[in-house]
């Protein structure tokens, strides 16, 4: 900047005509205003961040800097007796350290199918969790599919219908999942159904929003063609809109399935059953081998699911990135 101002005020000033120097002045003024605004917003940001961190630290049971040394202690002490223990915990094999305590009772949790064939407990719980996610994705996306056409401007003329459907979706999306899960747990007793319904409700809201946005962006020419041929509303939706939007719908649904696997682990930890609950118990009781076994299982299964769904999405709609859809999560 220094060189420009020197040029401007110095000996070579004559090269810049009056109009140009005015523009230069204007530019510099704008630059200055902009810099001041940037500085002010960064300042406000830092102040908010500082007080937020202080508030968080004060509200926490353990203070950050007091606990930090112990944090590494925790990691250091939290190692299984031998690496093989993780493997044994994962597949419910008998442990050489077995002393009758819960920590090493791997074999007790086996789920026997026949007398000799069994499913290891963690894998069984993982299957439950994944199935919870799948069932709620299927039901939720089906209901969102039915709802979304009533929320899109290009298909529904009545503003009131659109308004009501959209507000319903918003409430379903924002309603805390744990409250639905908690209420249903109180009524239906503990089990996966509460988790399924809680995640389904959220899925309807989240997918419904993404779906109706896709519908609104669809090409209306096929619709006009069908309308000209005298097709009813349902026929127009079925033959003009659905074929266009289906690939995107499926892609969003797959993305949602990924998110729901994570959601069902978390809801599980709050009382919905499945791997989340087992994990919470394992880490809470300091069972290192079991904890690591579950972490590895979860990591592997989530990576597999993500990769599979990414591959499927790429096949469906090409290289378009749909990470952007996470906003409605």
């Amino acid at each position: 900047m220094a060189t420009i101002s020197e040029q401007n005020n110095g000996s070579r000033r004559g090269e810049l005509g009056p109009a140009a120097s005015m523009m230069m002045q204007h530019y510099r003024q704008q630059l200055r205003t902009r810099r001041i605004y940037t500085a002010i917003s960064i300042g406000i940001f830092l102040v908010v961040l500082f007080y937020s961190l202080q508030f968080a630290n004060d509200a926490n049971a353990g203070k950050f800097f007091e606990r930090l040394p112990y944090f590494f202690d925790f990691i250091r002490s939290f190692v299984p007796d031998s690496p093989m223990e993780i493997f044994r915990a994962m597949f419910d094999l008998p442990s050489p350290y077995a002393d009758g305590s819960l920590k090493y009772n791997y074999t007790a949790d086996r789920h026997y199918i026949t007398d000799t064939l069994y499913i290891p407990n963690f894998i069984y719980q993982l299957v439950i969790t994944i199935n919870i996610a799948l069932v709620s994705t299927i039901i939720g996306s089906a209901l969102a599919f039915l709802l979304c056409f009533f929320a899109s401007t290009n298909l529904v003329g009545a503003g009131i219908t659109r308004f009501v459907v959209r507000r319903i979706m918003e409430v379903l999306r924002a309603f805390p999942e744990i409250v639905i899960a908690g209420l249903l747990t109180a009524i239906l007793s503990i089990g996966p159904i509460a988790a399924i319904i809680a995640i389904t409700v959220h899925t309807i809201g989240a997918l419904g929003k993404l779906f109706f946005e896709v519908v609104e962006n669809s090409d209306m020419k096929p619709d006009e063609g069908l309308r000209a041929a005298g097709a009813s509303w349902v026929e127009r939706v079925r033959f003009a809109i659905v074929p266009q939007v289906l690939p995107n719908f499926v892609s969003y649904t797959l993305l949602r399935a990924e998110i729901n696997v994570r959601a069902s682990t978390i809801i599980g930890a709050v009382g919905g059953g499945g791997i989340g609950e087992v994990f919470r118990l394992a880490i809470g009781r300091d069972h290192a081998a079991k904890t690591y076994a579950i972490i590895i299982l979860l990591l592997v299964s989530i990576i597999i699911i993500d990769q599979f769904s990414a591959w499927l999405r790429r096949r469906l709609i090409g290289q378009q990135s749909f990470e952007f859809g996470r906003g409605a999560a």
């Binding site: 940001f45 908010v48 961040l49 937020s52 961190l53 508030f55 968080a56 630290n57 509200a59 926490n60 049971a61 353990g62 950050f64 606990r67 112990y70 944090f71 925790f74 199935n131 799948l134 069932v135 299927i138 039901i139 918003e170 924002a174 309603f175 805390p176 744990i178 409250v179 908690g182 209420l183 009524i187 239906l188 007793s189 089990g191 996966p192 159904i193 929003k209 946005e213 994570r262 682990t265 978390i266 809801i267 930890a269 709050v270 989340g276 994990f279 919470r280 880490i283 809470g284 972490i295 979860l298 990591l299 989530i302 990576i303 990135s321 990470e323 952007f324 996470r326 906003g327 999560a329």
Partner: protein
């Protein structure tokens, strides 16, 4: 109408078949794919229906309790016990959670001159006249005397279904208005009212039981109830210190949740920002660095938020710090991946332009890349902030504290559903507010309306 449909002759048909083979000769996959697919999905759902025991669970569900819990969301119950004293009078007893102050004048619970009590359920036609020897139950104006002896309360033989003999006690059901349980030594009264009891002030407050008009008058022109502070300050203190509703506690827990989401997302953004440039193939020309950074993002992203949350709760104790850490670690991975993709898709011309005037690499990125990707970065971070405001609630319930844990505690008692409703309303309000804010910022950044 059929006359207007053009008829197709054989040669036309042949021509159309030739011209549009994709319509008339579809592959088996295309023809039956949808049918087979929906068949498989239906079969899967049926299997899950039985595997998860959905039928029995719904049949054994306590649906009577469900309606009670749902009613508790928007109404409250007063539950006095009318004890029969030895001297022939009736005494009203309230539990510690009673909604009325000592000696308050209650319009539906009046002492009679004979030492008994009259409990009205909505109107005078539906009421209980309680004395120690007998309870007159009025249903729609008709009296049904319930006699009380040493070892049983007995309903009259002609009593309708709303009055039910259950062993040695009598149950009276007034529907929504409430119910009563007449025993040999006392009457349990349950009376239901719309709304939330003592939402503003608890019974210990000086402002309890005052109408809106009275409160407004006190706040503006009234005498100071406590000479040391103004009435408005006094009101705020009493409101926040409300023992039943715990406003101060709930609001601070809500703030904790918001702080978790805000700080977690912000730190994740700050962390992912520089690393995304290392992960981007077109910026950092080292395959090893790109690969390592991308795998780091994948790892952070794939470890469940729950794992991070529980892990940090174990080391830092419950509170916002584990919540912040959990959101930070997952978001650093997810944002890093999205950012890196955005950086890889930038227009190279601007970078070349800055490079051609001899700028060092930092300046090239600052003026050649950042202006292009910044709107995308910020809008992505805002999306994550919105979504994290919601997930912070759930993370809190796992042990990270905040409103989630408070919700879980309130639901655990099965008696505080009104408080649950209050917190849900607060959460919905905050989520909608933040959605609106982030939408406003996003549309200003990107231009044009977004949803």
């Amino acid at each position: 109408m059929t006359s207007s449909v053009p008829t197709i002759n054989a040669s036309d048909r042949e021509r159309l078949r030739e011209a549009h083979p994709e319509v008339f000769h579809r592959s088996i996959m295309k023809r039956y794919g949808l049918l087979v697919g929906s068949g498989i999905v239906t079969l899967y759902l049926v299997i899950c229906f039985f595997a998860f025991n959905v039928g029995p669970a719904f049949m054994n569900g306590q649906w009577d309790r469900a309606s009670l819990y749902i009613q508790d969301w928007y109404s409250w119950r007063a539950q006095p016990r009318l004890r029969f004293e030895d001297n022939g009078t009736v005494k009203a007893q309230w539990s510690s959670r009673g909604q009325y102050a000592q000696g308050a004048d209650i319009f539906w619970l009046k002492p009679t001159e004979t030492g008994g009590y009259t409990v009205t359920y909505g109107s005078d036609a539906d009421r209980l006249d309680v004395t120690t020897s007998r309870v007159d139950v009025y249903l729609n104006g008709t009296a049904y005397p319930v006699t009380i002896s040493e070892d049983a309360a007995t309903a009259p033989a002609d009593a309708p279904a709303a009055i039910r003999q259950d062993g040695n006690k009598v149950l009276v059901n007034y529907g929504y208005e409430g119910q009563a349980e007449i025993r040999t030594s006392q009457v349990y009264v349950q009376r239901r009212f719309l709304g939330w009891a003592n939402f503003l002030f608890d019974t210990k407050s000086d402002f309890w039981g005052k109408s809106w008009g009275q409160l407004a008058a006190l706040a503006t022109i009234g005498e100071r109830l406590d000479p040391a502070r103004s009435n408005i300050g006094h009101m705020v203190d009493d409101f926040l210190g409300n023992n039943v509703w715990q406003h101060a506690d709930i609001l601070s827990k809500l703030l904790q949740t918001l702080v978790m989401a805000f700080v977690g997302t912000l730190l994740g953004t700050l962390f992912a920002f520089p690393l995304a440039f290392i992960a981007a193939r077109n910026i950092t020309r080292s395959r090893a660095a790109n690969w390592g950074m991308k795998r780091l993002f994948d790892f952070l992203r794939s470890v469940d938020m729950l794992i991070w949350a529980l892990f940090f709760t174990r080391s830092f104790g419950p509170g916002p710090i584990p919540g912040i850490a959990a959101i930070f670690f997952t978001d650093a991975g997810a944002l890093g991946k999205v950012y890196a993709e955005a950086v890889e898709n930038v227009d190279d011309k601007q970078r070349e332009g800055v490079k051609s005037v001899g700028a060092p690499p930092v300046i090239v990125n600052r003026f050649g890349v950042v202006p292009q990707v910044l709107p995308v970065f910020i809008s992505q971070s805002l999306y994550f902030w919105e979504s994290n405001t919601r997930s912070a609630t759930v993370i809190g319930a796992v042990g990270a504290g905040g409103i989630g844990l408070k919700l879980l505690e309130a639901m655990g008692t099965n008696a505080d559903w009104d408080k649950v409703a209050y917190m849900v309303l607060l959460i919905l309000l905050v989520v909608f507010l933040f959605d609106a804010i982030s939408n406003a910022i996003r549309s200003r950044l990107i231009g044009g309306p977004t949803h």
